[in-house]
């Protein structure tokens, strides 16, 4: 039998993290959470999560930044908004999950080869570079970066898509690509960030 | 009226006189207190039994004595403790507003709000909002303006008198009944 120590010391907290999240537009209502668990009750993916959405809410509020940003939960959120509309305190849980995903990506604390953040990153890059998404290319890049072997397994699906005329390797792009770049740079400047 | 003059003292903060009815708005302000809601310290509340008691002269008097704004609070329409004193106030308020506009006093400076005894938060919101709006407008400073106008009138009167004196006595023109200086005493 292997035993694990689960106690949390005050040093494990990152004081101010909760307040910081709650100051982000859309995340304010978290301070009203009563830990009722409705979010987990309606979440179709809560059954796979290491922390239920309710637990994530409490961990955020209690400044357990590392636990939250390294959790699987935030990556399992499929953005279906069921929790947000059912929450009796009208907490926009989906938006809080987005905020946590952003922090995890920024601080690069997500698990390596974990496909979801990679997908988000590749997605963003493609929008930035081309203005549009070419799904087939996007998904292929994700597989290549995360699970090169699994990509082979998906070849059947690609073939099917090809047959039904839904497979396109061509990169769709907009004409004024520099507009996108400039808009994004302007947002970054405003937020005092430099392009990663 | 050009109020936001360059000479606004740095520590200037608006002074607002509030007339609150005893049954709804005054009680709401009590509730705001009991609930420890925080709001700007710029309002001085005067209690009346009903907003219907607010005489337009109270508003004018307050402004002429240096208030930068006046807030009137009464029960919601239909909820007046005295059946319809608030409606009576509303009618007077509309006339008053027209008059204030003619005087060049900006609309946000005089405000009528229906606030029920349960709406402590509304007291907080209205007072904060109004304080901010008047801060943006700057001081009304009617007393100083009165003084300025007085100076102009007096100067004008002196000038006329001097001209009259130069032109020699005129039997048709009676001397003013009282000195001009007394007009705004």
């Amino acid at each position: 039998m292997e035993i694990k120590r689960t106690i949390k010391y005050e040093a494990d907290r990152v004081p101010g993290f909760g307040r910081e999240i709650m100051s982000v537009p859309g995340c304010e209502a978290l301070e009203h959470c009563i830990q009722c668990g409705t979010c987990s009750g309606v979440c179709p993916l809560s059954i796979y999560m290491d922390y239920t959405p309710r637990q994530v809410m409490e961990l955020v509020r209690s400044d357990f930044k590392n636990e939250v940003l390294q959790s699987h939960t935030i990556w399992l959120c499929a953005s279906c908004y069921a929790c947000t509309v059912e929450c009796p305190r009208q907490i926009r849980i989906t938006d809080i999950m987005y905020e946590l995903k952003q922090r995890a990506i920024k601080e690069r604390v997500y698990p390596r080869r974990f496909p979801i953040p990679v997908l988000a990153e590749e997605f963003t890059r493609m929008v930035h570079d081309h203005g549009r998404i070419s799904e087939t290319r996007l998904v292929s890049r994700m597989y290549l970066r995360t699970r090169p072997l699994a990509a082979v397994g998906m070849a059947g699906l690609g073939l099917q898509l090809l047959k039904s005329g839904r497979f396109s390797w061509k990169q769709d792009r907009i004409k004024q690509r520099e507009q996108i770049a400039r808009i994004m740079e302007a947002v970054d400047r405003e937020n005092g960030k430099t392009e990663a | 009226m050009n109020t936001a003059s360059a000479s606004v003292p740095r520590d200037w903060s608006p002074r607002i006189v509030a007339f609150f009815c005893n049954w709804c708005t005054y009680t709401a302000a009590d509730l705001a207190g009991v609930s420890r809601l925080k709001y700007a310290p710029n309002v001085r509340i005067i209690r009346l039994m009903c907003s219907g008691r607010v005489d337009p002269q109270f508003v004018l008097d307050a402004l002429s004595r240096g208030a930068d704004g006046v807030l009137i609070g009464g029960c919601h329409p239909g909820d007046c403790h005295y059946v319809e004193g608030n409606y009576k106030m509303l009618r007077r308020y509309q006339l008053l507003k027209r008059m204030l506009a003619d005087l060049g006093i900006e609309e946000p400076r005089v405000r009528l709000e229906w606030i029920s005894a349960a709406e402590g938060e509304k007291v907080q919101r209205v007072i904060n909002e109004m304080t901010e709006q008047i801060k943006a407008l700057g001081p009304l400073a009617l007393p100083q303006k009165f003084a300025e106008w007085d100076r102009e009138v007096i100067a004008l009167a002196r000038e006329l008198r001097a001209r009259d004196a130069a032109a020699g006595p005129c039997p048709d023109r009676a001397a003013p009944a009282q000195p001009v200086e007394a007009l705004h005493a």
Binding site: S79, E99, K101, L119, A120, T124, R132 | -
Partner: protein
């Protein structure tokens, strides 16, 4: 009736059957669409996970392009686009600070977003602008006897329920009934299909798709009708994987617009049923209802 039109990336890619069927159906009903000039990706859900300011800005560029058309109403058929554009609109109205940041960013490329474009979903336009009666009149090949499970998915009624009930939307139910189909009542019509997790975490994502297919079949559906390219992809494309993990559930999933095309008697190149991986074979249709002439 004329609307600005934002197709979104999916409708040009794996979800092209949606556009290929929706545009002719709307044209048949007298609706004109003006595709935005040089639109960009709305940002979808993935961008929100990286930077909500930039996600809003990306969406706002499209809103600004829409305003240039002067049409005020914009059709966004893809659920993710519909949600993201609406959400950006909400955020920009709700948070002045964000409105300023995004406004200045757009200004730097000579664009302006006032936030007065109404982003509409085709279901909304069909039921509320065109009306079921007008649709009923165009039906020449009613779908009598066809049992359809209406599947709305998550993002068109959540979190912004603007044109239908959040918990129990009925616009597609009524639309399908107007086409003559029998609507299958099921409690899963707004449940999540798994979204992008079908690709990234198949164990979790595919299970949700499987539950939908299984329950629709159990309640007697011949076909699932959907409004979202990602839902359609998930419910249509992973049958071998689902069969391998749980059980085979060969139930076709089509866009509601494809069923409309069928009921209107539009040609096969406008109903594009061949795009489905689980091919939907419509039941033999009796003589066209409107064709009986003396």
């Amino acid at each position: 009736m004329k609307y600005a039109y934002f197709p979104g990336c999916s409708l040009k890619g794996t979800g092209r059957a949606y556009e290929e069927s929706l545009v002719p159906v709307l044209r048949h009903l007298g609706v004109e669409l003006q595709e935005l000039e040089d639109w960009n990706c709305c940002g979808a859900t993935a961008y929100m996970a990286v930077d909500e300011g930039k996600a809003c800005a990306a969406a706002a560029r499209n809103l600004a392009l829409a305003e240039q058309t002067g049409l005020r109403q914009m059709l966004a058929p893809c659920s993710a686009c519909y949600l993201v554009l609406n959400k950006a609109q909400h955020y920009l109205n709700e948070y002045p600070a964000m409105r300023q940041v995004v406004g200045r960013a757009l200004q730097s490329v000579g664009l302006q977003c006032n936030g007065d474009t109404v982003v509409r979903h085709p279901l909304d336009v069909l039921v509320n602008d065109i009306g079921l009666e007008a649709i009923r009149q165009k039906v020449t090949h009613p779908l009598h006897g066809l049992k359809v499970a209406p599947y709305y998915g998550c993002q068109i009624v959540r979190p912004y329920a603007t044109f239908d009930d959040q918990a129990n939307p009925t616009s597609m139910d009524r639309l399908l009934e107007a086409l003559g189909a029998t609507v299958v009542r099921w409690p899963l019509k707004t449940k999540c299909c798994g979204g992008s997790l079908t690709g990234t975490l198949p164990e979790a994502g595919l299970r949700l798709s499987y539950i939908l297919l299984k329950e629709a079949r159990k309640r007697g559906a011949d076909v699932i009708a959907t409004v979202c390219p990602l839902c359609q992809f998930n419910l249509d494309s992973y049958h071998p994987q689902i069969a391998a993990r749980w059980e085979p559930v060969r139930l076709p999933t089509v866009y509601f617009s494809q069923l409309m095309g069928l009921a209107f008697g539009l040609p096969a190149e406008q109903t594009v049923l061949h795009r489905g991986m689980v091919r939907f074979h419509p039941p033999p249709v009796p003589a066209p209802a409107g064709a009986e002439k003396p």
